[in-house]
Symmetry: C2
Subunit: 162 residues, 2 copies
DNA sequence: TTAAATTTTGATTATCTCTATCATTAAGTC
DNA sequence: GACTTAATGATAGAGATAATCAAAATTTAA
């Protein structure tokens, strides 16, 4: 199809990701659509953890001519998650947040004051998780870990204002 | 108030818990009500991880004369969670499950096939979590960890039927 | 013990997130 | 380009949780 969508600033890393996505689509006889690509691209360009709603907002702003519906966002996120290309985080009832899972696995530290999310990986923990699953005869598919608390910055602000 | 509610089989542990709850209520000028106590008691007696709906069901069966509304369940669970007396687990969009936080802290291993939840504690992981928070200048309030996968039993069944 | 002040309750409605449906449109195939 | 199939957007529908509000219960202070 013939769109004047601006696909500039594509890095090699993104091209690889996109190729992987197209391959995945082909393998499952799914069709390639601009909506799907735009969703992948927007996730890639954002280093935030996005709610489907926020992602939809971004896409409406950047590609208004597509008139992408919210249903397509949900559908594509599920598709991407099922294929392990994105990961979702659940924080209580505030719904899910998605991020591109193409980066390495990591865990999250979440500030309960300002909502800032810090990512980290700890090999010792990863190692123990596998060990524990093994002990229970459990076939681990996935795992997630969150540390909740007050971030460095909020601690500083609290010191000043409280 | 004058109810014939059956509060038998109260352990000392429960009495302490209840006292703590009453103290909490008083401190915040909240009022003591039978509904609140029954919710605490039912959570205490159940060793399951309960959805608000399941908890409501249990209470309707055990204390039908109270005609406890679902709204009160939600309100009280939020109250208890805010005061760190119960903890909730989020399973994506399938809502939350609650458990009394009075027992020792632990993490969860969740079977994606049958939903069974296995609890565990690993000191090495606990230790690392504190260390990591410290490294980031983060004041940890809480943390949670979930391992998702196929439990021993479901693995066996899969072997037989697949 | 009673009366006043305040909070909580249950019922209900509203909201928010996510899924299902379906007619229309767009991709992939030849 | 025509044919087949899948994807899309709009919208209705579910399910979980929050908000509203009049009635009831609890606490407090006579
Ligand atoms: Mn992340
Ligand atoms: Mn538990
Ligand atoms: Zn913060
Ligand atoms: Zn299982």
């Amino acid at each position: 199809m013939n769109s004047q969508t601006d696909f500039t600033q594509r890095t090699v890393e993104y091209e690889i990701l996109l190729a992987r996505f197209k391959e995945l689509l082909k393998k499952n006889t799914y069709k390639y659509t601009i909506q799907r690509e735009v969703i992948l691209e927007t996730l890639y360009k954002s280093d935030e953890h996005l709610t489907p709603e926020a992602l939809h907002q971004l896409i409406k702003e950047k590609f208004p001519e597509l008139k992408t519906g919210i249903a397509t966002i949900y559908r594509t996120l599920s598709l991407l998650e099922d294929s392990d290309m994105v990961t979702s985080l659940s924080f209580g009832s505030q719904g899910k947040k998605y991020e591109l899972g193409a980066k390495e696995h990591h865990d999250h530290m979440i500030c309960t004051k300002c909502g800032t999310i810090t990512e980290f990986v700890d090999e010792a923990i990863e190692e123990r998780q596998h060990r524990i699953a093994e002990e229970f005869g459990f076939e681990m598919q996935d795992h997630s870990m969150q540390i909740y608390g007050i971030c460095k910055n909020c601690k500083k602000l609290r010191f000043i204002y409280d």
